[in-house]
């Protein structure tokens, strides 16, 4: 696997080289607006020359393509400017720490509302068809249940696990809670089952264990993958950002009362993939920029990488947000929870890929070099390097 990855890297390097050959100006990393104008002027002149040169060499059809085109495009992002993300990373750390501590508090204090998938128990959503029944009638009929009126004669009846487990038949077999409820409801006359969910304690525990296992394994899988593909500092940065995203998303959805069920857990795991996806794209660009900067890290390089990927980060965030918000508004009960999980996760994930992931990688780099007392020397080197360039 390692070898295969190495080959891929080589291939990528080759592509970069081709890119370098083709794009001579691309060598220049920091273009000031004044310089840009110059380049554009030069390029405009060059382009005419290129056209004239290429006409005899290439197919006539091909030349048509290179004929001057309106190359302007609409973009809301500042072109040629570099946003100083790294300088603002302290603020990012503070905001993230507050949210993270808040979420950890919610999770550790057991305030995450577990759905019956993980807790075990029974819930039935029934519609009483025969007569109009008020909630008090149902409460007296099934005193041990938690009952909620959903409107239009629809009721949500929940039984806690201990009652479900206590009921046993003569042979010591578990008695079915759905049966108990439906026997009692039959006295009221007709009823229609909208939805029934019943999970025994054994299955509940198994699902909980499996859920944790799936969670840990996918984190590990993602960590291993990015460690192979990227530098270890990024692997740590991306993994921390990922944990940050998941914990904060879980903390927020828990505090607004969304139950953690199999479906929302699957949503969180998808977010894990999505969050790293964002971080990877930034890291990929930093790696590319570092190659041009001869492997020397400056806040400038990282800012440049984040700024140049910013349009993609934001726009993808938006195009994923549109369907998620649509799920919240139109998706109905089950999909609404999933939609909220995604929406919060996407916002947190987009934020962390900009402010947290690379900042952590950068701080690890800095602390390493500070220890060696090289920072000042390096910054000095860098400034000269930047000037020369």
């Amino acid at each position: 696997m390692k070898k295969a990855m190495g080959e891929k890297d080589k291939l990528k390097k080759k592509i970069f080289k081709e890119g370098e050959k083709k794009v001579e100006d691309a060598k220049r990393q920091d273009i000031t607006p004044e310089e840009k104008k110059e380049i554009q002027e030069i390029a405009r002149k060059e382009k005419k020359e290129v056209q004239e040169e290429k006409v005899p060499l290439e197919d006539k059809k091909e030349t048509k393509i290179i004929t001057p085109q309106p190359l302007k495009f609409f973009s809301v992002f500042p072109q040629g400017k570099i946003i100083k993300f790294m300088q603002a990373r302290k603020f990012g750390y503070i905001i993230s720490s507050i949210l993270f501590i808040f979420s950890i508090f919610i999770i550790l204090s057991g305030k995450v509302p577990l759905g019956i998938d993980f807790k075990g128990g029974f819930s039935a959503d029934v519609k009483i068809t025969s007569s109009s029944v008020n909630i008090e009638d149902l409460r007296t009929l099934i005193p041990e249940a938690y009952i909620q009126n959903l409107g239009e004669n629809r009721f949500l009846i929940k039984l806690p696990l201990d009652i479900v487990e206590r009921e046993r038949t003569e042979e010591g077999l578990k008695k079915d809670p759905a049966q108990i409820i439906s026997e009692k409801l039959k006295d009221l006359g007709g009823f229609e089952i909208i939805k029934v969910e019943s999970v025994g304690s054994i299955i509940g525990r198994e699902l909980r264990e499996k859920g944790i296992l799936a969670f840990v394994l996918s984190l590990l899988g993602i960590f291993i993958y990015i460690s192979f593909r990227f530098e270890w500092r990024f692997a740590i940065g991306a993994t921390l950002a990922l944990i940050h995203d998941i914990v904060i998303t879980l903390g927020i959805i828990s505090s607004i009362g969304i139950e953690l069920s199999i479906v929302t857990l699957a949503g969180l795991l998808t977010l894990a993939g999505y969050s790293v996806n964002d971080s990877v794209i930034v890291a990929d660009r930093i790696r590319e920029k570092l190659r041009f900067a001869r492997g020397i890290w400056t806040s400038e390089t990282i800012n440049k990488a984040i700024t140049s990927t910013l349009p993609r980060t934001i726009i993808t965030g938006l195009t994923t947000l549109f369907p998620s918000v649509s799920l919240i508004i139109f998706g109905g009960e089950v999909l609404r929870d999933l939609g909220i999980t995604f929406t919060i996760g996407i916002i947190v994930g987009t934020y962390s890929s900009v402010f947290i992931c690379s900042a952590i990688a950068y701080d690890i780099y800095l602390s390493q070099h500070k220890r060696r007392g090289e920072t000042q020397k390096q910054t000095a080197q860098q400034t000269t390097y930047a000037k020369v360039n």
């Binding site: 390029a43 996918s218 369907p323 139109f330 999909l335």
Partner: protein, 536 residues
């Protein structure tokens, strides 16, 4: 038409044909229906087997040596410590292993227990047999396209699309339906000297020429009677005490029965509902196969004058006196049934008995109305999300955005084609995954488009910018999607039902997004370039 165009055309036609031909199965959460996860109590199957063999040893030793020194304690069988006995058991019951001697109740016993391999075989057999029985019962129920399969060591998943009455389905699936014929032990008055608790009464009756006593209670005190009966086992010397309906309505009484059944429903050929012309009550007529009829004939001829109890699921239904030898193997079960109960009983008897009781560990039922509602809302939400994304892409990236949206269409075609090809089901979370996929497909294009824009900014020439944008963007796309793919695989591993659908759709979405953006959208972009329609 280049190679990309040809590939696109062939693949798109392929997916469309498969989708049109096979169609997509809807999951239970969209169609309505019930999902049950059953646990077969293999431990009880195994215990039943040990009990049965224990009684067999007891009766054979009694026959041969006229001694009753056999005890059954859980998984172990204790046989009186006499060399002849031990040799006899070793020879006749090789699946039991001699485990040494043990001092128990003032006497030394030889201990036997079932070999591990045989134990496993019994457990295995009970699950596969239960699967078979449940399948044939579901067939009796008449459900279209049920899915019944084994899940893990001792579990069975039953999926019944469109079943509106899950309680009836569960009753049909869950009952053991073990039918037994057992002789009533009327030879001695086992229960004579015992005083019943409050609410339980004692009466005497004449049976088999002896006067014997039994306990009875009104229906409201049935539980008291049941609890009391559990304490009676110590008085009846290895016989069993069961409860059945009394002669009068609303009364339940005890019977002392032979420890094991003389004949079971395994020899059943058919079971039908009949109406009693006098009482106008339904009853179930069972007919035994030829082997069963022979056993029944022998049993009745040897026990004329005794009572024979018909026991269903541990409850005595009736205990008529055997007047004479009965040939032909036909018997009837009467029990003041409703017509529906009688039909159900006949159905489960035809399908056969479960080798062990089953427990319902998980149930998920979605009513058809909610299913319809979900699919409508889910589709609308997805379509609305897609429409907003389309609008956004067209406004922001103009013709390139159009290419990206064509890419999304191909991605959807890919997903639906693949789902049809694998015969996978579409679930509600699956629809959500598809909605997300739209965003992700577009992401692949955004990565490339933004790269192209950067290249354009750098040197203002179009075609090479696009080439470089695609080349550099590709590596990023693979890296970025790989992590989501890893997460999807683990979600698939841990989830069941709807969540698996989610993971599957996510995986297909990632692959489809690659297909849609790299092949389809690129093809459109090349086309736009040729026609000078390209804009970004």
């Amino acid at each position: 038409m280049n190679w990309r165009g040809i590939f696109l055309l062939i693949s798109a036609v392929f997916f469309a044909v498969i989708f049109a031909w096979k169609g997509i199965k809807l999951g239970l959460d969209l169609k309505g229906g019930s999902y049950f996860l059953l646990n077969v109590r293999t431990d009880l199957a195994y215990q039943n087997y040990v009990d049965k063999v224990g009684y067999e040893i007891l009766s054979k030793l009694k026959e041969k040596y006229n001694q009753e020194s056999v005890l059954i304690q859980g998984e172990k069988i204790y046989v009186g410590y006499i060399t002849d006995f031990i040799e006899f058991v070793k020879k006749e019951f090789p699946s039991f292993e001699y485990k040494g001697e043990e001092f128990f109740d003032d006497a030394t016993y030889a201990v036997f227990s079932l070999r591990e391999s045989d134990k496993k075989e019994i457990e295995e057999l009970s699950v596969s047999q239960a699967l078979q029985v449940i399948s044939s019962r579901v067939d009796e129920f008449g459900v279209a396209e049920p899915q019944i399969f084994r899940f893990g060591k001792s579990r069975i998943v039953v999926q019944l699309p469109g079943v509106l009455d899950p309680e009836r389905a569960k009753k049909l699936i869950g009952r053991t339906a073990l039918l037994e014929f057992r002789l009533v032990e009327d030879t001695s008055d086992y229960l004579g000297g015992i005083t019943p608790p409050e609410g339980v009464y004692k009466s005497a009756e004449m049976a088999g020429g002896n006067q014997i006593q039994y306990f009875w209670a009104y229906e409201k005190d049935l539980e008291k009677l049941a609890r009391f009966v559990e304490t009676l086992t110590q008085y009846v010397q290895g016989k069993s005490v069961l409860i059945g309906k009394g002669e009068k309505e609303g009364i339940f009484r005890t019977y002392v029965l032979a420890p094991s059944s003389q004949l079971t429903g395994a020899y059943l050929k058919d079971a039908r509902v009949r109406m009693n012309s006098i009482t106008n009550e339904p009853y179930v007529v069972i007919s035994l196969n030829s082997e069963g009829a022979k056993i029944f004939e022998k049993l009745t001829s040897e026990n004329v004058g005794r009572r024979l109890a018909i026991v269903l699921e541990g409850k005595v239904f009736s205990a008529p006196v055997i007047r004479e030898r009965i040939a032909g193997g036909v018997a009837s079960i009467e029990g003041r049934f409703t017509i529906e109960d009688a039909r159900e009983l006949a159905a489960v008897l035809r399908a056969g008995a479960l080798p062990a009781p089953v427990e319902f560990e998980e149930e998920r039922t979605v009513g058809a109305s909610l299913g319809e509602d979900s699919i409508r809302k889910g589709l609308f939400a997805s379509l609305f999300g897609a429409a907003v994304v389309t609008l956004f892409m067209l406004l922001y990236y103009k013709m390139s955005g159009f290419a990206a949206i064509v890419g999304v269409l191909f991605t959807l075609l890919f997903i639906f084609g693949m789902l049809s090809l694998f015969g996978a089901t579409l679930t509600l979370p699956g629809i959500a995954a598809i909605a997300l996929t739209i965003g992700m497909t577009v992401d692949n294009n955004i990565i490339i488009f933004e790269r192209i824009r950067e290249e354009i900014l750098k040197r203002l020439s179009l075609k090479p910018s696009i080439d470089v944008g695609y080349k550099l963007g590709m590596g990023t796309i693979i890296d970025a999607n790989m992590t989501t793919l890893i997460a999807a695989i683990f979600i698939f591993q841990f989830g069941t039902g709807p969540v698996r659908g989610f993971a599957l759709n996510l995986t297909l979405g990632i692959l489809g997004a690659f297909y849609g953006s790299v092949f389809a959208a690129k093809f459109i972009i090349d086309f736009l370039l040729k026609r000078k329609l390209f804009s970004i």
